[in-house]
Amino acid sequence: MMIDHPLLGLRDAQEFTYLGDASLIDRPDWQAENAQEAFHDYLYLRDNPAGEHRELWFHETGDRSWLVVTRNTLTHEITKVELARDVARARGRSK
């Protein structure tokens, strides 16, 4: 596969390490009432869609960026690639 890196353009997926669902960005609040439960769901419950999937890839033999790649798991079509840091900020992870 080729991943269209937001900074570097098309890069071979072989240069990346795959992690999984981009929802791993949404780490729960440790001080919340139901923190145990929320962390459990965060860590163990994942959708497994046959179709569009947002997932985390690490450009390990590249620029060490974590990316959020929107990929169709059936066709491998990649429709969007974002820097995970930007996604994290957009999802309210700024301190």
């Binding site: 900074l7 072989q14 240069e15 390990e60 033999t61 620029d63 960026s65 840091r85």
Partner: protein, 188 residues
């Protein structure tokens, strides 16, 4: 002056040079390296201070700059590798840190890497046996991080189509050298 004698990445006193029909592979221990990363919120300041010290703009993604004494290339978001001759700049990291102050984080990288310069008309034929860098698309100073013989390396364009520097993890210098020589024998 301290009394410790350095060894090359290949463990010798002198750098290794290999000649092939159309290519020279030369080990280059004579460069000091330091990484520079801009502090959050201080990116502009870091760029300005670095430019004042280095004499060039910090390169954009995928690009680099070659000059004397300082050269450098983009390594990652807000992160660069800076290079200068070891003989005159063994203190490269310290000097760079002094220049950028709290606007940047600097780490000595001189011995994190071994460097082999490949030059000659056979370059393209050899590089295409080594990694997926597309030499045709690389302008002067451009650098790519590539996977080469299972090693994360930088390939840095010193002369488009004619010469590149390959920086690899120093501890694997012998494996990297073996791969370079094997590719040269195979392709040339």
């Amino acid at each position: 002056m301290h009394k410790l004698k350095p060894t090359t990445a290949l463990g010798a006193d002198k750098p290794q040079i290999d000649q092939f029909d159309g290519l020279e592979i030369a080990e280059r221990p004579d460069f000091a390296l330091a990484s520079l990363a801009a502090r959050q919120g201080a990116e502009a300041q870091c760029a300005e201070l670095a430019k004042a010290h280095l004499g060039f703009d910090l390169p954009a993604a995928g690009q680099g700059h070659l000059a004397d004494p300082h050269s450098g290339f983009w390594m990652g978001a807000d992160q660069w590798m800076i290079s200068a001759p070891q003989a005159s700049h063994e203190d490269l990291a310290a000097a760079l840190k002094t220049a950028v102050g709290d606007a940047g984080s600097v780490s000595e990288q001189t011995d994190g890497w071994c460097r082999f310069d490949l030059s000659g008309p056979g370059l393209k034929a050899v590089v295409e046996r080594l990694c997926n860098a597309d030499l045709t698309s690389m302008a002067l100073g451009d650098a790519r991080r590539v996977r080469l013989e299972h090693l994360g390396c930088f390939i840095w364009c010193l002369d488009p189509g004619q010469a590149v520097a390959i920086l690899g993890p120093r501890s694997s210098a012998a494996s990297l050298h073996h791969a370079l020589v094997g590719a040269a024998l195979s392709a040339l």
